[in-house]
């Protein structure tokens, strides 16, 4: 997964502040609920309603989030295009992405894909596994 390397890039002292998780979803209610839940679970949520806003936020961020929770059907730069942009940037390519989707399609399966309505406990489980924060 390359996670140890990725962590070493972060600024010293980050351990004492909650690790950030970026939540990208165009449904405002869902975005805020997931963010509130992640805050309860000890993460610092960052919010974006679409891929374009998310990329801008990541470019500005001093410390990168430890994970991204991504809805695929978001406006402007959609989830697929966002992932492609992420992969093309060496600084961001290693951030684990957990996909949330309402679509039941065969190609959208895997341990990091969760179907909506999402089970919050499952989301936390997957996030912890992806970030190595048991």
């Amino acid at each position: 997964m390359g996670l140890p390397e990725y962590r070493s890039e972060l600024a010293p002292g980050w351990v004492s502040t909650p690790p950030a998780v970026l939540v990208i979803d165009d449904d405002e209610a869902l975005r805020h609920t997931v963010a509130d839940f992640l805050a309860d679970a000890g993460f610092a949520p960052l919010l974006a309603e679409g891929g374009k806003a998310a990329i801008e936020l990541l470019r500005r961020a001093e410390a990168l989030p430890v994970a991204i929770v991504l809805d695929l059907h978001v406006p402007r730069v959609n989830g697929w295009a966002f992932r492609a942009q992420l992969a093309a940037d060496p600084r961001m390519a290693r951030i684990p992405v957990v996909v949330l989707t309402a679509e039941r399609r065969a190609e959208l399966t895997g341990p990091d894909v969760l179907l909506k309505p999402v089970d919050l406990d499952r989301l936390l489980e997957v996030l912890r596994a992806a970030t190595g924060r048991g």
Partner: protein
């Protein structure tokens, strides 16, 4: 999909009057296939809204052959026949026009079938759109309720939230079913995405999701429960059976699940509950997604869920059967070949 004119496929035209009548019709594109292979080829290129065959020219075999083409399993068939012939007009989507054909009558029949196809297509598209649009607000409701549940410390708050979640689960399942039915109706068949699956884990997942503290489940697992199946569809089957059992069990009676993987080629799942006997139609294993008026309405949620479950299992090459009687209760048996 319906952006261009619908296709009417005339196979082996032997009757000049019929050909003439169809050529003069409007609102469709007439494709004439001189032979069966050419008809199959035409259907593979673009599905037809109606296939017309002549009984005097091997129409029956032709009709079977065109319905074997992927995506054309439910294509309507109009038979041209002489008065002496007994056309095989059993079942829906089949009609007959007698020769010598009355041109106006033939065109009217064609128009009727085209209208039917168009309406079915619209209904399916509508269901699909509604399904997708409903999922997002439901997602927000469900996720917010879960968060409220986690934050709530007061039992009197948790209880109603649990009810919201259960209602939401049921609604999410209904949306899934509606979309599956739409796919089935639009494509005429199911495409499975198989992977290595443990039936035991699917059952555990379905029981966790049942969110019912009052019901007792007794689970027995024997042998190897793995196979190459569509995990998502299989979960829908088990979840449907579990939810039905929870809803229709006598209070206090346990629901028994038995996974039997002792045979090499297949795995069997049995689910038994004690409760009211199933209505006659269902008891015979005829699961109709939209029961007709004259048949007694199945208990809530039984119709579509069981119909789809049966379709999913059959698509895996398995069998989906039920036994239900007064006193003994209801037992569903799902048999799945491992590959």
């Amino acid at each position: 999909m319906m952006s261009s004119s619908p296709i009417v496929l005339l196979v082996e035209p032997g009757d000049p009057a019929a050909l003439c009548a169809l050529q003069a019709g409007t609102g469709y594109e007439l494709v004439v296939a001189p032979s069966a292979p050419e008809a199959v080829e035409a259907l593979r290129r673009r599905p037809a809204a109606l296939v017309i065959v002549d009984l005097e020219r091997g129409g029956l075999a032709l009709a079977h052959r065109v319905r074997e083409v992927e995506g054309s399993a439910q294509v309507p068939v109009l038979f041209l026949a002489t008065r002496e012939q007994r056309p095989p007009i059993e079942g829906p989507r089949v009609d007959v026009a007698y020769k010598p054909v009355d041109e106006t009558l033939l065109r009217n029949k064609v128009e009727l079938f085209l209208t039917l196809t168009r309406l079915e297509h619209l209904a399916a598209m509508f269901a699909g759109v509604v399904g997708h649009e409903l999922r997002n607000p439901l997602s927000a409701i469900m996720t917010s309720t879960q968060l409220a549940m986690k934050r709530a410390t007061d039992e009197s708050v948790k209880k109603p939230l649990e009810r919201v979640l259960r209602g939401g689960d049921r609604m999410a399942r209904m949306i899934d079913q509606l979309l599956e039915l739409t796919r089935l109706r639009l494509n005429g068949s199911l495409t499975l995405s198989r992977s290595q699956v443990e039936l035991r884990e699917v059952v555990e997942h379905a029981l966790r999701a049942a969110r019912d503290a009052k019901t007792r489940f007794q689970v027995e697992a024997l042998g190897d429960s793995s196979g190459s199946w569509d995990a998502d569809r299989l979960l829908q089957v088990v979840a449907t059976l579990v939810c039905n059992a929870v809803e229709h069990s006598l209070p206090g009676s346990p629901i028994q699940l038995r996974i039997d993987g002792r045979e090499t080629g297949r795995v069997e799942l049995r689910l038994h509950n004690v409760g009211p006997v199933l209505p006659p139609g269902l008891r015979d294993g005829h699961f109709d997604p939209f029961p007709r008026e004259e048949t007694p309405r199945p208990p809530r949620g039984l119709g579509l869920g069981l119909f789809l479950s049966q379709q999913f299992v059959v698509a895996h090459g398995g069998s989906f059967t039920v036994e239900s009687s007064e006193g003994a209760g209801t037992t569903f048996t799902v048999e799945l070949p491992r590959t």
